[in-house]
Amino acid sequence: MLVSDWRGEVMAGSGTAHMRNTVDAVLTVRDLTVEFRTGRDKVVRAVSGLSFDVIKGETLAIVGESGCGKTTLARAVLQLPPPNSGEVVFDGTDLTTLPKENLRSARTSMQMIFQDPISSLDPRMTVQQLIDEPLEIWGRGDRAERAERINNLLNNVGLDPELVLNRRSYEFSGGQCQRISIARALALDPRMLICDEPVSALDVSIQAQILNLLQDMKDRFGLTMIFISHDLAVVKAVSNRVIVMYLGKICEVAPPETLYAKPAHHYTKALLDSVPVADPTRQRKATLLQGEPPSPMNPPTGCRFRTRCNAASAMCAEQEPQLREVAPGQFVACHHPIS
């Protein structure tokens, strides 16, 4: 297998045409690259030269298959671990150059909700201790004030404080655990919430409850959200802008209405076609994506999707497509976009 050298070429991204460069941006990420060394000279190129911005009050969704770098991207924003290169400007400060102590306090205003609600809560702590922990660490109020805050938070996420305060996470269902996680994430009044597949471990009936709750919390506390998911149907309900990622790069950026009605990238179309339709009379005769994404250790040259794309031509192997605007607000990185 041909493996590119660690010290070798710089992986170019798919451009910055979709950046809005406004003063309202809460988070601006430029040219973010995350690479992991595995073994002597192998490199996993998890995120390659990715840029995006999130405007205050907006929900940005990031969609893609397992292994496309969604979670790595979210963690790199929180500097967990810091990216190899690029900048992450949150509220006017570049987190990548911030001293450790300042970074710790900056992180209080950006919180994360994880995929597996049961394993992301410490099973030895009661719900009261779980939510109190961040408040106590940051010295938010005395004991009585914190207790009141905890009660408010639990009420907000639809749990009865009297019934849950002294119980531990294993006594709750997945949906209830996710509510506790949300209460904990909101404890420090964050400005931004990063949700990493918050509903993919839940039943459909519970999914809808948690999605609605996140929407409510966003409205009530004026939050800005990054919402990561592999399920385009889930994303549509909650987002204002969608980024479709493939193998560490952006394929397409668009508002959900445009993206779902007129996908321009062949990968977006394939993702849409694989969502099951709950109607036996309207089954799609779609051509499915064949195979699985190539290894991020050895990504294809040019367009990274070309090895699974029906429209790929010789140009796709040679030139890296750059993001360009094909409709108002819709940007696509493809040499042969669907028109």
């Binding site: 298959e65 397992s66 292994g67 269902s173 997945g174 949906g175 039943d203 459909v204 009936s205 519970i206 999914q207 809808a208 409850q209 999605l211 609605n212 929407q215 592999h230 399920d231 385009l232 149907a233 889930v234 549509k236 309900a237 909650v238 987002s239 204002n240 508002p255 959900p256 209405e257 779902y260 394939a270 993702l271 849409l272 076609d273 694989s274 969502v275 099951p276 339709v277 709950a278 109607d279 036996p280 009379t281 089954q283 499915l288 994506l289 064949q290 195979g291 699985e292």
Partner: protein, 325 residues
């Protein structure tokens, strides 16, 4: 129409420290030969327990079973453990939800796929490995010869699920139980696996029980659907009829709560408020009544019996959708 598997009056209770847990209550289910039947319901509705019991996999001393299971003309519930075991592989096979943990992590793929062939069909090691390679090709695993030598951790989730399917079909079973086969997978891989199951079912003339919580998965992949709630079958019909003419409010609520790519963005999703009732205390009335938007006094006090429409559509509701209230 002859049924391959018939479940009659199945009750499965577990003795727990909290009291008797009623996991499956009075379930009747027919799986017609060559057909695919979906079993749909939320976590905890008894889908998996029902399937495992139908296969004779629930043997613990705390399990209280009653009812009759007839598979291919033979009564499983009257057989000894070892006689039931004889049915596995060539009679019935199962694929499990989590492809990450269902495979043995310290044995090579080849040895796991060929095990059934050697034990059930008495093949030699060499023949079994050759057949294993064909099976991996059948489930569209590229470079099958090399994959035989790999360990499960070297494969992706989708590939592992393909290996599970290869193992399940290795002895040409008549009936395949697929318990949430795609829940742990990405949508794109889910679509591939479902398509593979459809094709295999046609080629091998296999019947299938597809257990899932997603009505979207059921719609394109089954001929009949059984909807389960709180351990009971609450609706059963041909898939087309069920989606065209739902009778049970629970099925309707379940369908409405699925996020779709057609809905308006930013719109609120319909939810089923509340949660499943406590399995140790099933109450007197309809189990769904506390969460049902049409519930009336009768629903809370009297348990509805299974009713049947002239076209065979079964439902368990006092005030089914489409009838004057």
């Amino acid at each position: 129409m002859s049924s391959l598997l018939s479940v009659k009056g199945m009750n499965i209770n577990f003795d727990t420290s909290r009291g008797l847990l009623e996991a499956v209550r009075n379930v009747d289910l027919e799986i017609p030969a060559g057909m695919s039947v979906g079993v749909v319901g939320e976590s905890g509705s008894g889908k998996t327990v029902m399937c495992r019991a139908a296969m004779g996999l629930l043997q613990g001393s705390n399990v209280k079973r009653s009812g009759k299971v007839v598979f291919d003309g033979r009564e499983l519930t009257a057989m000894s453990k070892s006689e039931v075991r004889e049915q596995f592989g060539s009679g019935m096979a199962m694929i499990f939800q989590d492809p990450m943990t269902a495979l043995n992590p310290v044995r090579r793929i080849g040895s796991q796929v060929s095990e059934g062939l050697r034990v059930r069909l008495g093949m030699s090691k060499k023949d079994a490995l050759a057949r294993s390679k064909e099976l991996l090709e059948l489930v569209r695993i590229p470079n099958a010869a090399a994959v035989l030598k790999l360990f499960p951790f070297q494969l992706s989730g989708g590939m592992r699920q393909r290996v599970m399917i290869a193992i399940a079909i290795s002895c040409s079973p008549k009936l395949l139980f697929a318990d949430e086969p795609t829940t742990a997978l990405d949508v794109t891989v889910q679509a591939q696996i479902l398509q593979l199951l459809r094709e295999l079912r046609e080629d091998l003339k296999m019947s299938m029980v597809l257990v899932t919580h997603d009505l979207g998965v059921v719609a394109g992949n089954t001929d009949y659907v059984a909807v389960m709630y709180a351990g009971e079958v609450v609706e059963f019909a041909e898939t087309k009829k069920l989606f065209a003419d739902m009778r049970m409010p629970y099925t309707e609520a379940l369908l409405e709560s699925i996020p779709t790519i057609d809905q308006k963005s930013g719109a609120r999703l319909a939810v089923i408020a509340g949660r499943l009732p406590d399995p140790t205390d099933r109450g007197a009335g309809c189990s769904f009544a506390p969460r049902c938007k049409y519930a009336q006094d009768k629903c809370r006090n009297e348990h509805p019996e299974l009713k049947q429409d002239p076209d065979g559509h079964l439902y368990r509701c006092w005030f089914p959708i489409g009838e004057a209230k």
